[in-house]
């Protein structure tokens, strides 16, 4: 069982060129900030390294950070054998939100990523099946959980505000 600091050390040793940072000013758990385009390599290492063995992705959630003009994704990981946990955050540009998929590493990410795509418009690169999941497939009025989202006037000829 390792704490967040030790996990950061292991990652730094193996990814010396990455810009990793641990934010501990949270009221609850610490969060590890990583570069968005490296998350797939990082994830594979987190899962397969014998010291870490993060075999389970508990949660993946998109967040719209309108003030900073960013779209972020939080990954909550857990190791069922070593019993430690970590939260990882990556951010991407709001105008070109692209993050590599981790669904190859944890199959659980598949639908979570589809949901983040559906509601925030985050493009997960190399995702096997990036379609809308909760909204209708032909919804063309944008991404509802973005902070600047506005309801469309009409959907398929039906009035939306009722």
């Amino acid at each position: 069982m390792k704490n967040a600091e030790e996990i950061l050390q292991i990652l730094k040793e193996n990814f010396p060129e990455s810009n990793l940072e641990l934010k501990t000013d949270q009221p609850t758990e610490a969060v590890l900030i990583a570069a968005s385009l490296e998350i797939d390599k990082l994830s594979l290492f987190l899962r397969d390294s014998s010291e870490l063995l993060f075999d389970s992705l508990m949660n993946l959630s998109g967040v719209d950070e309108l003030k900073e003009s960013l779209l972020s994704v939080y990954y909550h990981l857990e190791s069922t054998s070593l019993k430690h946990k970590i939260t990882i955050k990556v951010s991407t540009d709001r105008n070109k939100p692209e993050i590599p998929t981790v669904s190859e590493v944890w199959k659980a990410a598949d639908w979570h990523e589809r949901e983040a795509y559906d509601l925030f418009g985050i493009i997960f690169l190399n995702h096997p099946d990036l379609r809308r999941i909760l909204m209708p497939y032909d919804w063309d009025a944008g991404y509802p959980l973005r902070k600047d989202y506005e309801n469309p006037e009409f959907y398929q000829g039906m009035k939306v505000p009722y």
Partner: protein, 371 residues
């Protein structure tokens, strides 16, 4: 001359009695054999997460009820725990005990629906009636506590909406005394019934590594043979005070992790819940259940992830606060949403009729998948 065959696509649902709600499964078939199952969800999408962003923290509690509508107490419990972690609240001992009793009663009632409807899906209608008879008694216990039978708004941030009814402890003890023989009856009728075993054993086998990689939790994961329960692994509330077992699948009639195991783990869990309730009723202290409820809830800037063991698995709340009276973002990790992904993997190579068996054994609630 060879017979020319081609793949066929069959739509199951959205209005189908075995989909347990409004779910459409696109089945790609070769004759009677399943090649692919593509679930289409979203028919019950009610924008829970968007609603949360414009409501104050206490106003969200009734909305959480409506996700997994078969286990609202568990949903409220999870939300309350996440908020208390973010606020750093200490809550009275009596509140903790009552919450655990309610959550475990809810687990029994939820599993009763799961087992009853599972039997009905497969063609055994009588156990359904037996299960619902007992579930009604639990709902009556909830009714004397908070006035509602289905959606309770009972567990609040920092406390409860009502204290226990004076008759509650006696009535709950009576219920457990009546319930145990009834459980045996259901076992005799359904669990060890030859026809039921033939339909479920060795069908939809879920290996342990696949289950973990897909994020499957709760009874579905334990049926694959691992003792993984949030109540033990990541203890919350006062679960460490009770003595109970975590049942796992053993492959009694087939292979470990088949549909029968997933079914039977739930049966065994009801007995363990009874044990927890009995111990909690013995130990429950006196006290005020509303003394710790904050007058105004304004958490510090930051985020929290907390989870509880709901009847369907690991229910997680991810809440981001920007320091105002309503959350910046709420994400719910619904156990059914994650478990549902495994369906395609489990169904491949089986018959169309087995889709019903496998879907029923995963025990989904569309309310929390679509939120």
């Amino acid at each position: 001359m060879a017979i020319k065959t081609e793949e066929m696509v069959l739509n199951m649902g959205p209005q189908h009695p075995s989909t347990h709600g409004v779910l459409r499964l696109e089945l790609v078939l070769e004759g009677e054999i399943i090649i692919n199952v593509i679930p289409h969800i979203g028919y019950l999408h009610r924008c829970f997460e968007k609603h949360c962003e414009v409501m104050t923290y206490p106003q969200i509690v009734p909305y959480t009820d409506r996700m997994d509508y078969l286990a609202p107490m568990g949903n409220e419990f999870g939300y309350a725990i996440a908020m208390e972690k973010l606020l750093g609240l200490q809550i009275p001992e009596r509140v903790e005990y009552i919450r655990v009793i309610m959550a475990e009663l809810q687990r029994i009632s939820s599993h009763l629906v799961a087992l009853g409807t599972y039997g009905a899906d497969i063609g055994a209608f009588t156990p359904f009636l037996y299960c619902f008879r007992d579930r009604e008694k639990i709902l009556s216990l909830f009714e004397i506590t908070c006035g509602a039978r289905l959606l309770y708004n009972y567990i609040w941030i920092g406390g409860l909406s009502h204290d226990l009814h004076p008759d509650f402890v006696r009535k709950t003890r009576e219920f457990i005394k009546e319930f145990r023989p009834n459980l045996k009856e259901v076992n005799d009728l359904l669990s060890h019934n030859r026809i039921f075993i033939d339909r479920t054993a060795n069908v939809g086998i879920l290996p342990i590594d696949t289950a973990i990689n897909y994020g499957v939790t709760g009874p579905n994961l334990r049926a694959s043979g691992i003792k993984w329960d949030v109540r033990k692994e990541d203890p919350y509330s006062i679960y460490h005070k009770f003595d109970y077992e975590i049942p796992v699948g053993e492959g009694t009639y087939g292979t470990v992790g088949d549909s029968w195991d997933r079914y039977y783990v739930r049966v065994l869990e009801m007995e363990e819940s009874c044990k927890i309730i009995e111990q909690a009723l013995e130990q429950i202290p006196e006290g005020d259940v509303q003394s710790a409820i904050p007058k105004r809830i304004k958490p510090p800037v930051g985020h929290v992830y907390a989870r509880v063991e709901n009847p369907r698995g690991d229910l997680g709340y991810f809440i981001i606060s920007d320091g105002s009276t309503s959350p910046y973002r709420v994400k719910v990790r619904a156990p059914s949403f994650v478990s549902m992904q495994i369906l395609n993997e489990l169904c491949k190579g089986y018959m169309v009729a087995d889709v019903v068996t496998i879907l029923g054994s995963i025990d989904i609630v569309l309310g929390e998948i679509d939120r």
